[in-house]
């Protein structure tokens, strides 16, 4: 259709109150309000909400949404393998390396390609497929850890730190706070890789998503529910995982003198760890840190960078310093805390 005027990137994709909207395909990506047609990058609650009409997403993301919200979380589910054509655009799905089923979505109208990263990570993660570059003209990136102070150590070294602490304090148990989707399974898988073959105890809120990961072929070893009837002494020397919110609940009272650990990229900043009363901070992030974030932009070398959420000021500043056109989208509704 050579007679049609070429769309500008802003015409192909732009923010609306409900989220990033593509008029040429009449769909939103990761909308924060219920819409008729939605493409979803991954199953975290701030990106994947219930109540849409038609949802396009990876098979695993659709499964995860059904687990979290029930089978009727939307009217029509369309699993996407690699790509799908919707009206005038093609949407290509590329693994984001963030959590199981997470994808970057590239929207292409034949003239302009815009990659929406969703949340992404480039460090090896035994609990999901590895990140791949999705070439584009405009890269729409998150900036959760978009400050040069975020330089996350290797996940293996953090898990070693946990295991050293377990060995040094055999009379205590280690209570690891980890979000239910992705982080928890990653911590477990990393522990298994590091040779920890004892049963790992989990909070009830992690059970279904752990089961799903096992179904999908991820080796989590033996998991046991951390129930009261085991008695306090049963937990000595053990590792227990729970969602961070459970640490404030009476659930935590069943453990003997626990070492409170928290697996999160935020743990790199001491004040954050202290605020949460963490005794053993584990710097484990499912998002790109600053070096990986800037490396990704350099690898893709897009004409423009749009920043969705996080520390957009610093990233935009970095782009300016490197002569890359950049602007913040200031999308609302994405939680920066959840990592």
């Amino acid at each position: 259709m050579p007679s049609l005027p070429v769309r500008s990137p802003q015409e192909l994709l732009h923010p609306r109150p409900a989220g990033l909207y593509c008029p040429a395909g009449d769909f939103y990506i990761d909308p924060v309000q219920p819409v008729a047609r939605a493409l979803i990058t991954h199953g975290h609650a701030d990106h994947a909400r219930a109540g849409h009409g038609t949802v396009w997403a990876s098979r695993q993301t659709l499964d995860i949404m059904a687990i979290r919200y029930g089978e009727d979380f939307c009217q029509t589910r369309i699993p996407v393998e690699d790509r799908v054509d919707i009206a005038e655009v093609r949407a290509t799905f590329t693994p984001a390396g963030h959590v199981l089923g997470s994808m970057q979505i590239t929207v292409d109208d034949g003239n302009t390609a815009i990659t929406v990263s969703g949340d992404y990570a480039r460090v090896d993660n035994p609990a999901c497929a590895a990140f791949a570059l999705a070439p584009c003209d405009v890269f729409v990136t998150e900036a959760t850890f978009g400050l040069p102070v975020f330089n996350h150590p290797s996940p293996q070294s953090e898990v070693e730190k946990l295991l050293r602490s377990v060995a040094a304090q055999p009379d205590r148990c280690h209570l690891v706070g980890a979000y239910a989707l992705g982080k928890a399974q990653r911590v477990i898988a990393l522990l298994r890789q590091a040779g920890w073959d004892r049963p790992i105890y989990i909070h009830g809120a992690l059970q279904r998503l752990c089961d799903y990961h096992i179904e999908q072929g991820i080796d989590l070893g033996e998991l046991r529910p951390a129930t009261v009837k085991q008695g306090k002494d049963a937990f000595k020397g053990q590792i227990i995982l729970g969602p961070p919110s459970a640490f404030a609940a009476t659930w935590a009272q069943r453990f003997p003198d626990p070492v409170i650990c928290f697996a999160s990229g935020w743990m790199q900043v001491r004040a954050r760890a202290r605020q949460r009363g963490v005794e053993l901070p584990l710097i484990l992030s499912d998002h790109v840190d600053w070096p990986d974030l800037t490396r990704t932009i350099q690898d893709l070398s897009p004409q423009e960078v749009w920043v969705t959420h996080g520390r957009e000021d610093a990233l935009v500043r970095w782009c300016e310093l490197n002569q890359i056109k950049a602007r913040p989208l200031r999308l609302v509704g994405y939680e920066e805390e959840a990592d």
Binding site: L147, V149, L175, T250, P258, Q275, G277, R311, A314
Partner: protein
Amino acid sequence: MQEFAELLEKLAFTPSRNGKIAHLKQAFKTLPDPDRGLALAALTGDLALRNVTPSLLRGLVADETDPELFRLSYDFVGDLAETVALIWPHSTEPEDHSLSEAVEELGKTAKAELPALIMRRLSSMTPTQRYAYLKLATGGLRVGVSARLARTALAQFGSVPVEEIEELWHGLSAPYLPLFQWLEGGDKPVNLAAAPFRPVMLSTPTDLDDLSDHPPVQFVAEWKWDGIRVQATNEGGTRRLYSRTGEDISNAFPDVVDALNFEGTLDGELLIKRGDTVAPFGDLQKRLGRKRVGKAMLDSHPAALRAYDLLLWDGRDMRSQPFDARRAALGDCIAALNDPRIDLSALLSFSTWDDLARLRENPPESVIEGVMIKRRDSAYMAGRKRGNWFKWKRDPMLVDAVLLYAQRGHGKRSGYYSDFTFGVWQEGQLVPVGKAYFGFTDAELKELDRFVRNNTTDRFGPVRAVKPELVVEVAFEGLNASSRHKSGVAMRFPRINRIRTDKPAAEAGTLEELKAFL
């Protein structure tokens, strides 16, 4: 540097005292000499390397990073050394230098060459090492390790009584090689300190029931003054004032040090005294912890010593003699000194424990916190030896207060709301007057925890605000006027005595009532 960095990190995040001690013991076991001694000195603030200023650090980082990116980062992190440690360009080939190398270099490098040295070192370190290095260089470790905590850890590490370490402490210096040698089975070091600290004799708490097992005639009693127990010593012209844990507090009390015109060692109570009147503890607190005291403060808050006991006199060690003999000698010494700044603690006259109970109930001055009871034939012995000295404190002060905030505990109290802030009424409002995290039984803790969970009105991180409905009886040992607290008062040793579900919040105490205890 790596091991020191890890130790620092563990100490910074370990909330409990016992947890910190465990980490220190482990470090004493694994760190080589002289690193462990230097680490110890760094933690207790006895390693002075204060050439490195925040502005030097800012200068360094300005050469390495964009100022705007640094500003955004510092805003987020909130700590200069930490921001620099994290933002510094990553070294591709980290090399680990020992703590002793780092300390030596920082010590001997000329000021003009410091920036280049620090820059070189930072570039060869990991972020955790950089953080430890910068904290070491700027002298602001602040990981909650006092000299006393460190000595306790040393004592446990070497399985020796902490009093023996306290006694040696002032003759030792970093890197403490003879000390570690001794703690690992070698010979005990000779005490090198001039006018060293001698371990103090301590008392155990008692009550009327307990006392009835002992014949009153074998004991003497004196007032227990609400000051600071000290050891005042002058040996060969070296004068020292020590706290009962061996902290040298001479600098804060030059007036008392000036009055130590004798050759010997006294045990007594440090007080603020105006004429014959002993001032409340709060006045003494104003002079504590100072490096230097101005003339105005010396005039308005004059310190004095009330003598309890005599350890050494004119070259004679009195400690093996019975209390009666030491006390008689003490009386003569004080009389001979003839200085109003050093007086003698009076003995109380009683023949039965009930007599003493009556005295205890009606002390002549409000700065008396009870009575001390000492066995006449007891030698002066280090530490707390049951049956020789007793303290019989006056009953605590009590106030009914309303629970306002609660914070989650840690360790064995994980998952429980166990740190409580409470308030009393003032003009129809509840003003917070204190915090307590002990005093209750396990069953009461469960009850308090349940109340907090069911009555939360607001959350701030680990803190919850609760409906102002639950009344608790708070016991405390004293009340000081305080400009740092909104209520204008600060409680000493507040604890929750019992939960008063029988009392409606409207009937809890008032600030006016509380201030009557001042």
